[in-house]
Symmetry: C2
Subunit: 201 residues, 2 copies
């Protein structure tokens, strides 16, 4: 009954917002009514941005990151180390690592991780493309920067096996205490890894 | 530098999402990459819903609720009590009260509350329209259902003064403990109101 009170177009936008991750029905209606109250431009700007998103973006044919131009700005940047390759699950991981300013090599985006539960196998990811790239390239080190989750670890293990013999050096990102974190509130597995990986001063 | 890594269209959608209330830069980029990964329809459906939102909605000329048809379904519903009027701040408040199924009268949406800090005076709200409606109508009771906040209380007080003499009975929604709430965690003002408004069994 409460649903009928809302105009169809309003309910439709609420439903569309609620399909997005992390947005429940309450947030969805708050967003919708915020847009109703706001200037016309706010809703229409968002609509235009959404329409242009897919129209103007594609995957880089080398690293499979999201890009407008092919190859992407990273693959096309001659100043970046061509002997260092960082393998990540998602384009957002590239953004995160770039933000750290700790890496100046090339990337390869897998677009997911191996997950038998969700029916995602190696053939669903950009793994064949990675192997081909490593075989052709002159990489001296491959950083397997998949997430420190069950799926990410399995994927790293799988890649390690596939790439053994093809490349010289493979590494994983360090596991330990997050900077600014609190020892008291750190889970036991992270703390265990931090103890194992302790470094001499 | 990290910004340049992202394609312009991707960054633009992130920026548009981040303009919405309750969505920070991190949620905005998560939403954007979710839409990038998802089917084309998801982003385009959302775009269409946004475009249609303003094109097909207007304010009801009687109660100022959001509607597609004028008058709205509530104002046009003969089965609802025409002697009972509930005054609320926002259209979402109508949805909330309808969901409670405890009210079967008419509504009046003010579209805000009086707030000197934000420069919102009585003339910025649908108050003149309310007074006109009350003068013409045959309302026996007006529920001033503005929020239990400083702005909502001031607005209710202002309306009470404006409507004294024009109408017979004015009420406010009961204040007290929220159902399912915990006495221990209730703030002292709410608890004070709950004690004042205690009811005999």
């Amino acid at each position: 009954m409460a649903r009928n009170i809302l105009p169809r177009t309003v309910q439709r936008l609420i439903d569309e917002f609620a399909r997005l991750p992390g947005i429940g029905p309450k947030s969805a209606s708050r967003l919708t009514f915020y847009l109703l109250r706001g200037t016309d431009n706010l809703a229409l700007d968002l609509a235009t941005a959404l329409q242009e998103l897919k129209a103007h973006t594609r995957f880089c044919s080398i690293c499979f990151n999201i890009t407008e131009a092919d190859p992407c700005v990273i693959c096309g940047d001659e100043a970046r180390d061509p002997t260092l390759l960082c393998v990540v699950e998602e384009p957002l991981d590239v953004v995160a690592i770039e933000r750290s300013r700790a890496f100046n090599g090339r990337y390869h985006v897998l677009h997911g991780a191996i997950s038998p539960v969700e029916g995602i196998g190696p053939e669903d990811l950009k793994i064949a493309e990675l192997v081909g790239r490593v075989q052709q390239g002159a990489f001296k080190e491959i950083i397997l920067a998949t997430n420190p989750t069950l799926e990410g670890e399995s994927t790293a293990l799988y890649l390690q096996r596939r790439l053994t013999g093809v490349t010289i050096k493979m590494t994983r990102l360090a596991r330990g205490l997050p900077v600014g974190g609190d020892l008291e509130y750190t889970d036991e597995i992270t703390l265990g890894r931090a103890v194992e990986g302790r470094q001499e001063l």
